[in-house]
């Protein structure tokens, strides 16, 4: 991942690259703490959303790196399904690039905790691809 580094928001929230899976796709993780808590004992939906977006970004950056593309990535939209309450555990998220075209990329993202088959949230996200700025 030459092109991807976690921005200040992600570091503030305690997100980190947990590991990189085959194919170069990073899994982003976030520990439970007061800063990500919504109602008592559960993860805040916005914190889950932020983690999903970061994993989507990371997966797309990895895919663009693989293609040798230095295009910039801008979020267009996201739709999140909350499947079950996130509990006081470490949360993981991984994105899958469905298509990276010339102008738009479509990414699916999932978040889970202890058991990868029991998803906490599922989402799709679209990105606008923009040529790198001329210096």
């Amino acid at each position: 991942m030459n092109g991807f580094h976690l921005p200040p928001y992600a570091r503030t929230m305690g997100m980190e690259v947990d590991h990189v899976e085959d194919g170069g796709v990073p899994v982003i993780a976030m520990d439970f703490a007061g800063r990500v808590q919504g109602r008592p004992g559960f993860l805040h939906g916005g914190a889950i959303g932020g983690l999903l977006e970061m994993a989507a970004h990371a997966a797309l950056r990895a895919e663009l790196d693989r293609q040798g593309s230095a295009f910039r990535i801008k979020p267009i939209n996201i739709s999140i399904e909350y499947l079950r309450g996130g509990v006081e555990e470490r949360t993981f998220a991984r994105g899958e690039v469905i298509r990276a075209g010339r102008r738009v990329a479509n990414v699916r993202v999932e978040a889970w905790q202890g058991d990868r088959t029991r998803l906490v949230a599922s989402s799709w996200m679209n990105f606008l691809l923009a040529p790198p700025k001329e210096n």
Binding site: R35, E53, I78
Partner: protein
Amino acid sequence: MSKDEKAAGLMKTIMPEGFVFDPERGARWFTRAGHTGFLGMEYHDHGEDWIELALPWREDLVGVEETGVLASGPIISLLDNATSMSVWTRQGTFNPQVTLDLRIDYVRAATPGKTVIARAECYQVRRSMAFVRGIAHDGDISDPVAHTAGIFMLVSSEGWAKP
């Protein structure tokens, strides 16, 4: 005290009998701690079925270091909270609910340094679901930063929160 008794006690604290949800006090209570407190969300304004929350810009919430543009994550959180509170504002009471789905369109990047305001409206409540929509802007609502539509599931208070 058993876990259930603790949970019931927590619900009573949040919602004593005859409780009327005051959006301003409620919003201040819900933004005092946890994720909302950490992000620095604030109550801004409300009406019969809408509420506004504000999120002041902060360097450590930036998503693009080179430009200082706020990350979209805090905007999801802001819209999630504002839409959630719009349901209680419309109902005039507090009922446990969870986010079923939330869709957000990022219309443009938020202006670095500016406070983002989310105006959220609950436009219908059915027996199991509350339907919401909202706009995030940084000073001019006709020039939005983001637009959202979502659905909350109304749930029983049992197990809703863990004291």
